[in-house]
């Protein structure tokens, strides 16, 4: 059971969260070409190493945020602490 460093609640079991996957920017829907939009929908970097990804603290603070995790070791980079909004988009 991974211990996920929720920037609001503190360390939480991964079962308390929903994994949102690789964090990626949404293209402007007004101008996006098909390849660009489908790249956003389907293509992933899927690195074996540090990955910026989204999580939703479903059983806890109910906030979406991004974290950095090493997909080879499952180690998290510490997020900013409560009161410091840099890591949490909310």
């Amino acid at each position: 059971m991974l211990l996920v460093p929720c920037p609001n609640c503190g360390p939480r079991n991964s079962a308390d969260l929903r994994y949102g996957g690789e964090s990626h920017a949404r293209p402007d829907p007004a101008t996006a070409a098909p390849l660009q939009w489908r790249g956003y929908l389907y293509l992933r970097d899927n690195p074996a190493g540090w990955l910026r990804e989204t999580w939703y603290c479903r059983s806890g603070c109910r906030r979406w945020f991004t974290l950095e995790r090493n997909t080879a070791t499952n180690e998290f980079r510490d997020p900013p602490q409560p009161g410091d909004k840099r890591g949490a988009k909310a």
Partner: protein
């Protein structure tokens, strides 16, 4: 060998005043409280406990502990019980496993005669022809499956679970583990000490010399006086990420087995060492036992393991066994010292008259051959922590290499030493564990919103300055000059492994898979090192070069019952559920909801709604309370249609698509006030839509001012449907003008209903009837439902369930997301293209929906079979004529009570979507029928006159 009970031993754990009677293979036996099944049987002179898997060779005690591969028995409905560990209980019904027709006379033992042909992997090389016969061969092979029997009537007993968050967990309560626990507790840590055996003490428990006994008493007393939580007969089964530990407790007073999940800040691994068998011809004969088995039998249970023994020893444990044997009157006929390069070469003869053959040919008659050939380091928990233990040929075993900082090893796993040195190392380890745990605890507490504020800075991460334990030289004893058994539970010998390596299966993993060595009940605890040694020998390499296998969890097997624990499967019900139950409801499970499906006759329920008035409990309908000035922007983003101009008091239908254009959910949203809306979703989509909305608001549009609150179960939702619904509602509602002019279709009003203030209702209609959907504060849901039932008695009011609603919505041609749509159904396929406003700046899925507008897509259409009495199954395929080419499928179908004919919705290829098109439907029976695509989705009241009435 002939075993028997000795006079009382000072270290014994049995209570000779309490006799326990039990059955073994149908015969009566007795033992004492504190006996294991095996010790009781051994004391009674039993010497064969099982037959081996392939060759059905007789097998006796080998290690006399949990890992003994020869002591798996059936106890009642409990298969594969470790008789070397399980305590005897009065009335136990114990059976030998894997024997036919009996333990003594086993017919399959004839396999031993052909063993030269049944080499490892032989089954890959034969039974191929004739191919037809393989199923028959397979059935025969399956009869060789070892193990006990599953009783089909086995009940699921009471198992449960517990979470715990100790600072330090110590796995193993030998002298080093106990000292570690004591030191950690003394340093202020919350400590959980977990011992696999039935009592703490490790090897001290079966050590006869007085200093060892004194040390054990002292350690026990110290533990009793400490705050350490001690679990015996419990095992740390796995170490998972971030020190998440699985611990199985087998002796809990109420749970058969309890699974404890511990988030340890530091794990101390102190399992001791496991004695390893020596490989030589006949090493699996009854009478050949490890030195540990001899000492345990004598000192723990007062069992005399034989009359005349040969001891092969390469270490102090073997010497201690020789001393114990001599002390209790077993004649020690010969001591063969492995440290002098001498080897035992074979065990021959029967179990009653064993003959030990030395390398060189000297023979000694005995009924017991005790072997002390070295150790396996059970590094399992270290492997699970990511460590790769390293082999040290000088000490002839593996040692920890570089475990993570929150996992510390001590005791025999970490090195050798005197008892005092091991205890000192344990204490130093406990101290270090406590100090590191304090740093972790400080960090957790500092970051946890609800926790007490921390004082001071996070303690520094303390360096590991423990004085390492020594490593004593031990001869590398794996195989003698003969071949013998390596994996006792799988019947894999050293010869099999050499053959496998020669054949090309020469890496540990390949050889393991090919021969199945290490795959049995002990999962490598006894046989891994010898397996690696055999491959190394065949390859002409060292053990270090070959490497070891990966130890996988669990460390000790645990029952499925323990893993499952209390099975929590939450179910939810509406406030009106007790009424449904009292009124003959047939329920249906929809996700976690228990819902009324019908009350006996769904078609009658439909007719009553269409003729009079019906009530349906639609509480599970997802409901989100929206507040704030930016709601119209949010709705414009989530739905495909436009929301900027919805007036207060109005309701609108909307469809949501995902970013790939696939239909996600649908429902109505009403504007209750200037900045206050209520959104409804499908019941199954409620949770997902909420998370999706929060995602948009929190990550893509964080500057928008909207508060979203799920209120699904804050309201009981009751749909009142039918031509008499206005009359019924008017009888219970106060202060709202219900006339068609004042309260129009797709409008919402706040009301007091049956005396309940704060209700609101809207005029919508999934059923196609005039209907009022009431949303009532849930604490009054039952009251309002009963009030409606009472008030409408003369109107013919009756309940209807999901099935009736499904029929009516199908009559009206409303699609259901997830039933009539699937994972690839794009928005336009629903026929609702007019609701997809491509001229909006942005909404979820906009680009895909824009491109989809130009594509030929499968379409959802209404279909009627030409024979009105044939209802095609939901899933019946629409095909091209007499061919097998699939052109679509029926997604919903029912017999319409109103039309008296079969009606359907289906998905068809675009070429078939036009009204009037004839299609061929292939029924499940194989019959092909013709059907017609309709002009409109609605089969009934296509103009919606009833609805708007």
């Amino acid at each position: 060998m002939t075993m028997s009970r000795l006079e009382a031993q000072p270290t014994e754990v049995i209570d000779r005043s309490t006799t326990q009677r039990f059955r073994w293979n149908g015969k009566r036996f007795s033992g004492f409280e504190g006996d294991t099944i095996a010790s009781a049987l051994a004391a009674a002179g039993e010497h064969v406990f099982s037959r081996s898997m392939k060759y059905h060779r007789p097998r006796g005690i080998l290690t006399a502990d949990y890992w003994d591969p020869n002591l798996l028995v059936q106890v009642g409905d409990d298969p594969n019980v470790r008789a070397g560990h399980r305590l005897l209980e009065a009335g136990m019904d114990v059976q030998a496993q894997n024997v036919w027709p009996s333990l003594r006379h086993d017919i399959k033992a004839a396999n031993g005669l052909v063993s030269r042909f049944l080499t490892a992997g032989f089954y890959y090389k034969t039974f191929m022809r004739p191919q037809k016969l393989w199923p028959a061969y397979e059935r025969v092979l399956a009869t060789f499956a070892p193990g006990g029997k599953v009783d089909p009537d086995t009940p699921h007993r009471y198992h449960d679970k517990r979470y715990t968050h100790p600072d330090v967990v110590v796995a193993g309560a030998g002298p080093a583990g106990i000292e570690a626990a004591l030191a950690a507790a003394a340093a202020g840590a919350r400590v959980l000490l977990v011992e696999h055996e039935h009592a703490v003490g490790g090897h001290l428990r079966y050590a006869h010399p007085e200093p060892a006994r004194a040390a054990l008493s002292e350690l026990r007393a110290a533990l009793d006086a400490s705050d350490v939580e001690v679990l015996t007969d419990s095992t740390v089964t796995g170490r998972y990420e971030d020190n998440w530990l699985g611990i199985v407790q087998r002796n809990h007073p109420i749970a058969v087995e309890r699974l404890i999940k511990a988030r340890a800040k530091v794990l101390v691994v102190a399992p001791g060492l496991i004695e390893r068998p020596f490989v030589f011809s006949g090493n699996d004969r009854p009478g050949v036992i490890t030195s540990g088995a001899a000492r345990r039998l004598i000192n723990l249970w007062g069992v005399k393991p034989g009359e005349r023994a040969v001891v092969f020893t390469a270490n102090s444990d073997g010497d201690a066994a020789a001393a114990d044997l001599d002390r209790v009157g077993v004649e020690v006929a010969a001591v063969i010292d492995g440290r002098d390069g001498r080897r035992v070469s074979a065990a021959q003869g029967s179990s009653k008259a064993l003959e030990a053959v030395l390398a060189g040919g000297t023979r000694t008659e005995a009924d017991l051959l005790v072997v002390a050939a070295g150790w396996t380091a059970p590094t399992s928990l270290l492997n699970m922590s990511g460590d790769r233990p390293v082999y040290d040929p000088n000490a002839a075993r593996f040692f920890p290499s570089d475990p993570p900082g929150n996992v510390l090893a001590t005791g025999g796993l970490a090195g050798d030493g005197s008892l005092d040195e091991l205890r000192a190392h344990g204490a130093a380890t406990g101290q270090l564990a406590a100090e590191r745990a304090a740093a972790v605890a400080h960090r957790y507490q500092a970051r946890t919103a609800r926790a007490l504020p921390v004082t001071g800075d996070e303690p520094a991460w303390v360096a590991d300055l423990r004085v390492p334990l020594r490593r004593t030289h031990h001869p590398e004893l794996h195989r003698s000059d003969t071949h013998g058994m390596i994996d006792f539970s799988e019947d894999v010998g050293s010869k099999d492994l050499v053959a496998a390596a020669r054949e090309g299966y020469d890496s540990v993993e390949l050889a393991k898979r090919y021969t199945t060595a290490t795959m049995g009940s002990a999962q490598g605890k006894l046989e891994t090192v010898n397996t690696v040694a055999a491959i190394a020998e065949a390859r002409g390499e060292t053990i270090a070069q070959v490497g070891t296998t990966v130890w996988r969890p669990p460390y000790a097997p645990l029952t499925l019952g323990a893993l499952a624990g209390r099975v929590f499967e939450p179910v939810r019900v509406s406030s009106i559920h007790p009424w449904h139950e009292a009124n003959g409801v047939r329920t249906i499970l929809a996700g976690q909801w228990i819902r009324p499906d019908h009350y006996g006759d769904p078609a009658a329920e439909v007719r009553n709604v269409r003729a009079n008035v019906g009530l349906i409990d639609v509480t599970p309908l997802g409901k989100l309370d929206l507040r704030g000035p930016d709601i119209p922007k949010l709705l414009n983003l989530l739905y495909t249609n436009k929301w900027s101009k919805l007036p207060v008091g109005k309701v609108r239908y909307g469809m949501m698509c995902a970013e790939d254009g696939v239909v996600l959910d649908d429902g109505v949203t009403g504007r209750l006030g200037e900045d206050h809306y209520l959104m409804t979703t499908t019941s199954s989509g409620a949770a997902g839509v909420w998370e999706w909305v929060e995602n948009w608001l929190q990550t893509e549009r964080p500057h928008w001012r909207v508060h979203v609150t799920p209120v699904t179960t804050a309201y009981s939702s009751i749909n009142v449907a039918g031509p008499k619904s206005r009359e019924l509602v008017s009888r219970v509602v106060e202060g709202v003008d219900l006339s068609p002019e004042a309260f129009k279709y797709m409008e919402v009003r706040t009301a007091t209903v049956a005396g309940v203030a704060g209700c609101f209702m809207w005029r919508i209609g999934f059923t196609g009837e005039l209907s009022f959907e009431l949303h009532v504060p849930a604490g009054h849901g039952m009251h309002v439902w009963e009030a409606l039932m009472e008030a409408g008695a003369d109107l013919g009011v009756g309940p209807f369930g999901l099935e009736g609603q499904r029929i009516m919505r199908l009559e009206k041609g409303h699609f259901i997301v997830g039933q009539d749509t699937d994972g690839l159904t794009l928005g336009p396929s629903t026929g609702l293209s007019p609701l997809i406003k491509l001229d909006k700046d942005d909404f979820a899925g906009l680009p895909e929906l824009a491109w989809a507008a130009d594509r030929k897509l499968p379409m959802i259409v209404a279909i009627q079979p030409d024979d009105p009495n044939v209802v095609p199954e939901e899933a019946a395929q629409i095909v091209r004529g007499d061919t097998n080419e699939i052109l679509g499928r029926i997604t919903s179908s029912r017999m319409s009570p109103m039309l008296g004919r079969a009606i359907c919705l289906g998905q068809v290829e675009p070429e078939l979507a036009a009204g009037g098109t004839k299609v061929t439907v292939l029924l499940v029976s194989g019959e092909r029928i013709s059907a017609t695509v309709m002009d409109h989705h609605a089969h009934f009241d296509p103009d919606g006159e009833r609805l708007r009435g």
